[in-house]
Assembly symmetry: none
Homo-oligomer: 276 residues x 2
């Protein structure tokens, strides 16, 4: 950490010396993560800056949605769940915002489609994460996933959650590896929802080869195989080929795909759901 003497008050006080705003922000969020609330005066003393500076930091952090300001300090955002789930995560957050409305429509449609099923497999990804939010009130439903985010989100809901075990991928917070595959390959799901990063007439693609193994497990071990794919991903290939079009039963998207993809999907007997 810091090579300054420190040795002050506080558990990990980065004191004295010039300090970049980002370091202060990190310190504030760190304190918030461990105690759920911070006080302006306390932070100011610990970081050796004026109250006003701390307040300006808090304003900025609040605008970014990382905390909620109150009189005298701030409390943790996202309720006070302290799951550190909604923290920066540049990639995931950025992707979540991108095409958000389309993804939300797709997620709602997916939730409707899942109504009749009791064991649901949920892949990793932003769209599937939004699907999870729709399943919160669903009692007597078992959700199987390899996404730590989905597990954390549904961990406070009615649904029963089963998480695959194994190595946790950084940032994406997905679980992968042979162990996870073996664990889920023994099961059978009524329906699965698989996220994608690209679709062409040649099949389905994703950028992370670490997550592909489990996508294939979901597709192999489910009664109804549903792919979720917003319109920005049409005609895009990515790093890894996940599956052929014939390997899915339903594609949920937000706009009609180009005609060649439609033709290929028809040939593969895939239902196309365009979310309203």
């Amino acid at each position: 950490m810091s090579e300054f003497p420190t040795a002050h008050l506080g558990p990990n006080a980065a004191a004295r010396g010039r300090m970049l705003p980002e370091m202060r922000h990190a310190a504030i969020l760190d304190a918030l993560r461990s105690s759920g609330a911070v006080l302006v005066a306390e932070i100011a003393a610990q970081l050796q800056v004026s109250d006003m500076t701390v307040r300006r930091d808090l304003v900025e952090l609040e605008r970014a949605g990382r905390l909620i300001r109150t009189h005298g300090g701030a409390v943790s955002a996202s309720g006070s769940a302290t799951v550190a789930m909604d923290n920066e995560e540049p990639s995931f957050d950025a992707r979540l915002r991108r095409q958000h409305e389309a993804k939300e429509r797709i997620a709602a449609e997916a939730a409707t489609l899942s109504m009749a099923h009791r064991t649901i497999a949920l892949d990793v990804g932003t769209t599937t994460y939004l699907v999870a939010n729709h399943l919160r009130e669903r009692a007597h439903t078992k959700v199987f996933t390899n996404s730590v985010r989905v597990a954390a989100s549904l961990g406070t809901s009615q649904a029963e959650v089963y998480l695959a075990g194994g190595r946790v991928r950084r940032d994406e917070l997905s679980v992968g590896g042979a162990e996870a595959v073996a664990q889920f390959d023994k099961l059978w799901f009524d329906i699965c929802f698989v996220g994608l990063s690209g679709i062409t007439e040649n099949g389905l693609f994703d950028y992370s080869f670490e997550d592909v193994d489990l996508k294939q497990v979901y597709l192999r071990r489910s009664g109804l195989k549903v792919a979720l794919c917003d319109s920005s991903k049409f005609q895009r290939m990515s790093l890894v080929h996940v599956a052929q079009l014939t390997e899915i039963d339903v594609l949920i998207t937000d706009a009609p795909p180009p005609s060649d993809i439609v033709a290929a999907l028809k040939a593969a007997k895939v239902d196309i759901h365009v979310a309203p």
Copy 2:
């Protein structure tokens, strides 16, 4: 600090210093959850504020529908639940606030102790969660856990995280079950940190029988077995007996335990670390 020792009334006096209104609200609701009813004077003494302030808090909380005010205090809103169950486990957030400073000191000590080790097993719980925050910068370290919270927290850090697979327990977000046990029982950890909810000369105790299986795995499969236990848990038994004192190597706590526990620990050859 220029205040009283404060450690007189209440099992967990979260007093001292300034306090955000939100923290008071949380404390009130927490007390309400565990005992079903609260008294104005009691809360005021415990939080070191005037009665009037407590009343204003209660007015606010009543308007929000979180409780029902009575003469002299308030009772729980959703009357049905909250029957003063002592074996009931309070919410994660409530436990995180309770004895927070002590837990943070324990966590820092645990982090220091873990320095020399490369594969670390981290149990579920608030104290172990705080330990995780100290491991964020630790590269080339593998952390094994059954806590979704720990995995989410460390998922954006330098450390490598391995999560056990299985059923996710509601609220606590811990993974449990035969699958998880089998998965970790094949491994060997350099050091493990196990959280507790009680310790007596007869051994270690915990609220949740669902989490005990994995605690025992950690203790069975680790080179150095470390228990984390703040001083409010001395002489307290809980639902489940986790292990004998002889089954751990180190106990980290925040204050010297009562003499009979010390004697029993000495007999069991357990190192006692009192975090400064």
